[in-house]
C-alpha cells in the first residue's frame, strides 16, 4: 500500500466505517510509515478539537432575545389559525 492509497481511506478509517481486511492493511502501513501515522493522528485530533470546543457559543442574553422574538411570531400564527 502506498501513502496515496492510505489517504484515500483515511476518512473511513477515522470514522471506523471500514471492513476488517482493509483495516488490517491500513494499520500495517501505519506501522512503518511515520508520515501517514502522524497525518492520521493529527487529523483525528483536529476533528476532536473542533468537536469538543464550541467556536461560536451563543450568549444567554442573545438566546433570550431570540427566543422571545420567535415565540411572539409563533403565537401570532397560532391566533390566526384560531
Amino acid at each position: 500500500m502506498k501513502c496515496k492509497d492510505f489517504l484515500k481511506e483515511l476518512n473511513e478509517y477515522l470514522d471506523g466505517q471500514i471492513d476488517v481486511q482493509l483495516k488490517t492493511e491500513l494499520e500495517e502501513h501505519l506501522q512503518w510509515c511515520h508520515d501517514c501515522y502522524v497525518v492520521c493522528n493529527t487529523t483525528r485530533k483536529t476533528i476532536e478539537i473542533y468537536h469538543d470546543n464550541d467556536v461560536y457559543p451563543l450568549p444567554e442574553p442573545i438566546r433570550e432575545r431570540l427566543h422571545q422574538a420567535i415565540v411572539t411570531k409563533c403565537k401570532a400564527k397560532s391566533e390566526h389559525q384560531g
Binding site: L58, I70, C74
Partner: protein, 210 residues
C-alpha cells in the same frame, strides 16, 4: 475513535410528543424544542455565513419556518435533522445574497489536489489544546476554519461538529455521497495542515512553534 458522536442524542418519543403538541398550537412545547436546538442552529449558521447578524437571523427564521411548516414534518426523520435542513438553506441563502453583492463564486476556491500527501507532516504536542488558554484556542480554531472554502467548511461542520451522517449531509446540501466524502477529506486535511503552525512540537533546539 469509533466515529463522532452526535452532539444531540435525545429520546425520540419524548421529542415526537413535543413536536405533536407544537403542531396542535402549543407554543410552550415548541419553546422546549427551541431551547434544545438553538445553540446548534446558531453554530451552524455562524459557520456558514461567517456573520453574526446573519446567524441570529437564521436562528429566528429557521425556527419560525419550522413552526409554520410542522404539518409537513414526517415522523420518520429526526426533528433535529429536519430543522437543520431548514437552517442550512436559510444560511446558504444569506451567504449567497452577500456574496452576489461582491460577485464571488461560491466554489471558486475549491481547487486542491485531492488525496495528495500533505505538504507538511509535523507531529503535534501531546495535548496541543493545552498550549493555549481557552480564548486563544477559540480564536485559533475560528480563524482556521474560517479560512476554508465554504463548501468544505459546511460539510465539516455538519459531519464532524454536528455529527450528521454522510448521507444526511449529502441530502441537506444536495450533493452526492462521494462529493461529501471528498469534501470532508479535504476539509479535514486542510484544517490539520493549517493547525500545524499552532500545535506542532517545538524543535529540539527549543524554538517555539511559529
Amino acid at each position: 475513535m469509533n466515529g463522532i458522536e452526535s452532539k444531540v442524542a435525545e429520546p425520540q418519543t419524548e421529542e415526537l410528543a413535543l413536536v405533536e403538541a407544537a403542531r396542535s398550537g402549543d407554543v410552550g412545547a415548541f419553546e422546549q424544542l427551541i431551547k434544545r436546538y438553538d445553540r446548534n442552529v446558531f453554530r451552524i449558521a455562524q459557520h456558514i455565513t461567517q456573520n453574526r447578524e446573519d446567524a441570529e437571523d437564521v436562528v429566528q427564521d429557521a425556527f419560525i419556518k419550522a413552526y409554520r411548516n410542522l404539518a409537513q414534518f414526517q415522523g420518520n426523520s429526526k426533528f433535529y435533522t429536519w430543522l437543520v435542513r431548514i437552517a442550512v438553506n436559510e444560511a446558504l441563502m444569506k451567504l449567497r445574497r452577500r456574496k452576489t453583492a461582491k460577485t464571488v463564486s461560491l466554489d471558486e476556491d475549491v481547487t486542491t489536489d485531492e488525496g495528495s500527501m500533505p505538504r507538511e507532516v509535523a507531529d503535534w504536542s501531546p495535548n496541543p489544546e493545552q498550549l493555549y488558554d481557552q480564548s486563544e484556542l477559540g480564536e485559533i480554531l475560528q480563524k482556521t476554519i474560517q479560512a476554508l472554502p465554504e463548501s468544505f467548511r459546511t460539510v465539516f461542520v455538519l459531519r464532524d461538529i454536528e455529527g450528521m451522517s454522510t448521507e444526511e449531509t449529502a441530502e441537506m446540501l444536495n450533493l452526492s455521497v462521494p462529493a461529501v466524502k471528498s469534501r470532508l477529506l479535504r476539509a479535514r486535511l486542510q484544517l490539520r495542515e493549517r493547525l500545524n503552525r499552532y500545535f506542532k512540537k517545538p524543535k529540539r533546539n527549543g524554538a517555539k512553534p511559529q
